[in-house]
């Protein structure tokens, strides 16, 4: 469904007449990433120029504008069909270190959206924080890192981009220096993060040892004939899976997630659980389809789809079952986020060598991450709003919020039922396309486990809705006084997007699927 049928010129797709007919020069492919980096640096500069002025609003506006520009650019490129095989294939820069293709642009769009929402929401959240300046620069630069991570096509660039994402995230989680929860979360996140990045880099070294190169395409080439080095490469691959598992909070490396999402400031939790998780999946998709093609990997004895299948089942089950018994809404949402990582893992698990529907499954998983980005961010921002009212954190404290803050509660109901996968909202289609794709690819048992978990998830998501609408309001709700406009706006925008994405699911799934099939191509 590409609107503009571009010429066959190798560089960027031909743009309509208004730019003189000649396609944009090649480096402009980096447009979205450059926009983010520029905004980050601008924010740093702005903070140094006006150090002590409470410049919360301006910073938030700059960050949001930067993110929206990135979103616009990547959206425009996607619409123009950049990086599609039809329009001259992926654009590789810096000696194949960075590739801009459908996958990169799609995930950059996701990251940009989440960053914009978080930036807008943080204006109210950090209202009475004495130095909000660094927050925005850290967020935007982390987002730039994620965009880079999605477009990196060499293990070197991947590792460096990964660090560029992790380091600011550690600082962001511990941002509320005086709050014990934030500090404890920051400490745990840093420690687990450090260990897993060490494991990740050791994995890369083993893969380098086995294949002799870091660029994904060369690794893929070398993967074919490493007969006796399979063991070393295999361990390397598993350790890299450990690294990705950290970023996407999948099972063996998920222990940090509940504490961090609960302890960290709500916008940061939203940012981590939506954007950085999506980036983790982006790099996992690219590495495992380009660097370790399934046919050769399985031939050599490294059946990584099976590993991901194990991870998917464990993550889904652990996430959903633990979430069902939580007493605090934010921690429940943390576990639900782990559960949804499990569903997205189906995109990697339900793949088979030469499977006719590989592209469809992975595309569905990408689309699910896109819709999940909206739902999850919205939900965490709602919790941020409730925290700013100081009403309390358990389900009982949320009782009767519907009558006091109807608009926000309607938004939260939309998020909850969309996360559960109920139809009038976007989450329904994305989850069911994922299950349908798994069934089509022959992994019906994986879809069955997914379905089982999503039934259980309906239970605990509706616990929130029950608290909001059905329970009688307690007296504590009198504290709900302030109307944080920006936070409110972000939540409503996310809710509207979740609803609109159902009818508008066509373009999302089509671009995602095209990007995914290109990877396997």
């Amino acid at each position: 469904m590409s609107i503009i049928q571009s010429s066959t010129l190798e560089p960027l797709a031909a743009l309509p007449a208004q730019t003189g007919g000649a396609p944009l020069p090649e480096w402009t492919a980096l447009g979205p990433i450059l926009a983010l980096v520029a905004t980050g640096l601008l924010l740093l500069g702005w903070d140094t120029v006006f150090p002590n002025r409470r410049t919360n609003t301006e910073l938030s506006v700059i960050a949001a504008v930067g993110a929206l520009v990135t979103l616009a650019l990547s959206g425009w490129y996607l619409a123009a069909g950049t990086g599609r095989p039809a329009t001259g294939g992926a654009i590789t820069l810096f000696a194949e270190a960075i590739t801009i293709d459908g996958l990169a642009l799609f995930f950059t769009a996701i990251v940009a959206v989440v960053t914009a929402l978080v930036a807008v929401a943080s204006r109210d959240y950090l209202d009475d924080h004495e130095t909000p300046g660094e927050f925005y620069s850290l967020v935007v630069l982390a987002a730039a890192g994620m965009a880079l991570l999605a477009s990196a096509s060499s293990l070197a660039t991947i590792f460096v981009a990964l660090e560029m994402v992790s380091l600011p995230s550690y600082a962001l989680v511990a941002y509320l220096k005086e709050d014990r929860g934030s500090v404890e979360a920051g400490m745990k996140y840093f420690l687990v993060g450090a260990v897993s990045s060490a494991i990740f880099v050791f994995g890369i070294s083993l893969v380098y040892a086995a294949t002799g190169s870091l660029v994904l395409s060369d690794v893929a080439a070398a993967f074919g004939d490493l007969d006796d080095l399979a063991g070393v490469a295999g361990v390397g691959v598993v350790m890299m899976i450990g690294g990705f598992a950290f970023k996407t909070a999948s099972v063996p490396v998920h222990f940090w997630a509940p504490e961090v999402y609960e302890g960290a400031p709500a916008p940061v939790s939203a940012f981590l659980s939506s954007a950085s998780k999506a980036a983790g999946f982006a790099v996992a998709f690219r590495v495992f389809t380009e660097a370790f093609p399934i046919a050769d990997a399985v031939a050599v004895g490294i059946d990584w789809p099976l590993v991901f299948a194990v991870l998917a089942v464990l993550t889904m089950t652990l996430g959903n079952f633990a979430a069902a018994v939580q007493t605090e809404v934010k921690r429940m949402l943390a576990y639900s986020s782990i559960g949804h990582a499990g569903y997205a893992l189906i995109g990697l698990a339900a793949l088979s060598a030469g499977g006719s529907h590989n592209g469809a499954v992975m595309g569905a998983s990408m689309a699910h991450l896109f819709v999940y980005g909206f739902m999850n961010t919205g939900a965490f921002l709602f919790i941020a709003m409730v925290e700013s009212w100081g009403v309390g954190r358990t389900f009982e404290d949320y009782a009767g919020l519907g009558s006091v803050a109807p608009m926000a509660s309607v938004a939260m109901t939309v998020f909850m039922f969309s996360l559960a996968g109920l139809p009038p909202f976007g989450g329904f289609f994305s989850k069911y396309f994922l299950f349908a794709g798994a069934v089509f690819n022959g992994f019906w048992w994986l879809a069955a486990i997914g379905a089982l978990n999503s039934v259980l998830s309906l239970y605990y998501y509706s616990r929130v809705v029950k608290a909001l609408w059905i329970e009688e309001p307690t007296d504590a709700l009198s504290a709900v006084d302030s109307r944080p406009t920006a936070l409110y706006g972000a939540v409503i925008v996310a809710a509207v997007a979740t609803v609109v994405v159902l009818p508008g699911f066509g373009p999302v799934i089509e671009t995602a699927e095209a990007a995914a099939t290109a990877l396997f191509g």
């Binding site: 920051g186 400490m187 420690l191 060490a198 380098y208």
Partner: protein, 100 residues
């Protein structure tokens, strides 16, 4: 010339020693030192196989790993400072308010 397996073995040993430090020591600073050790184990591998394959990729990338290790330690120290200010102790196992 030393056979490449032994470099791998050395790197693995250093990696596991670092990991052992992480698992058993309770002080945050020891934690940082152990992570440094694990990262350097990876560097050994890179440099060893850079010469094995006769190209410079490994060595250049080792530089990057060192740089990033340093950055990580910077952030680590920052976090340990904040930890100390709030919990009064640099023991990683003490802050256990959030669980289950």
């Amino acid at each position: 010339m030393v056979a490449p397996e032994y470099y791998l073995l050395l790197a693995a040993a250093v990696f596991c020693i670092g990991l052992f430090g992480v698992l058993t020591r309770r002080n945050a600073l020891y934690f940082l030192m152990s992570v440094e050790l694990m990262l350097n184990a990876a560097n050994i591998n890179f440099v060893a196989f850079s010469s094995y394959y006769g190209d410079l990729t490994g060595q250049v990338f080792a530089l990057f790993v060192i740089a990033l290790a340093a950055a990580e330690v910077a952030i680590g120290i920052g976090i340990i400072l904040v930890l100390y200010r709030n919990f009064g102790v640099t023991d990683v196992t003490v802050p256990r308010e959030m669980r289950w």
